[in-house]
Amino acid sequence: MFESLTKYASPQIAYGLAGRLIPWFGWTAALLFIAGLYGGLVYAPPDYQQGDGFRIIYVHVPAAWLSLFTYMVMASAGAAGLIWKTKVSDAVARNCAPLGAAFTFLALCTGSLWGKPMWGTYWVWDARLTSELILLFLYLGYMALQSAIEERRTAARAGAVLALVGVVNIPIIHYSVIWWNTLHQGPTITLTGAPTMATSMLIPLLIMTLAYMCYFAAVLLVRVRGEILQQERNSHWVRQLILEGGN
């Protein structure tokens, strides 16, 4: 069992596996995006309070969820790299950071564009918005650290420690709307209670979230493959692959 798992830590096998998975995640994401955009922009009825302005939810909430999810993947891969010292998990962790930063940036910007018409302001220093901004700085700090340290293993170790310390921010972001009085609304969808949202509005949101997750998987794997090629450039299999013009 353990042996079959660690097999995927071999760069060559991980490279091949990623190559086979990318089209699946990519095309699933594309189909889900089409369905989700139709559902969110056309099928879902206007909100009784916010009219058509609420439709920003379909790009805001998936980006915000993915900003947290990506961080957990980054920290877990970093921890795996610390424990088993596998190169592939380091590559996964490192390539999560720019994607997580992009999701966080989108969550902040789309939230800001939603806040203006509904709250009357683009930005407030409330707990949810501030903790999400700190998440952006965590990603950017991680990326700066990676580019500042020449030696790959050292950079990966330092990055993993930073990512693991930063995990404390994740529950803070999640519970901020419950722990503090914030302008940001409370959770509409929880694992336990029934969602306080009409089904016709909820379904496009779930489809868009799945689309973002498949997109994330596909793009992460593309980046990881690129990094494996770069790092294994002196190995026999990469030389053979490139010279044969293989994928």
């Binding site: 206007p46 302005g53 439709r55 805001h60 564009l113 593309v222 690129g226």
Partner: protein, 55 residues
């Protein structure tokens, strides 16, 4: 208002809704295209290096 212009108007929220969707599209597309460009450039670089070494 006709169907399409009503849709584009987004109930008066057009100037918030469309920038949110446009920016999301832009950032998500950039994260697909840039790594693919980089990988293609890397493959070209490696191929040149390997061919040089073979001679």
């Amino acid at each position: 208002m006709s169907g399409l212009s009503a849709f584009l108007n987004m109930g008066g929220y057009a100037r918030f809704v469309w920038p949110a969707y446009g920016l999301s599209l832009l950032v998500l597309m950039a994260n697909v295209v840039i790594p693919m460009w980089r990988e293609r450039a890397l493959r070209r670089r490696l191929r040149r290096r390997y061919e040089r070494e073979q001679v």
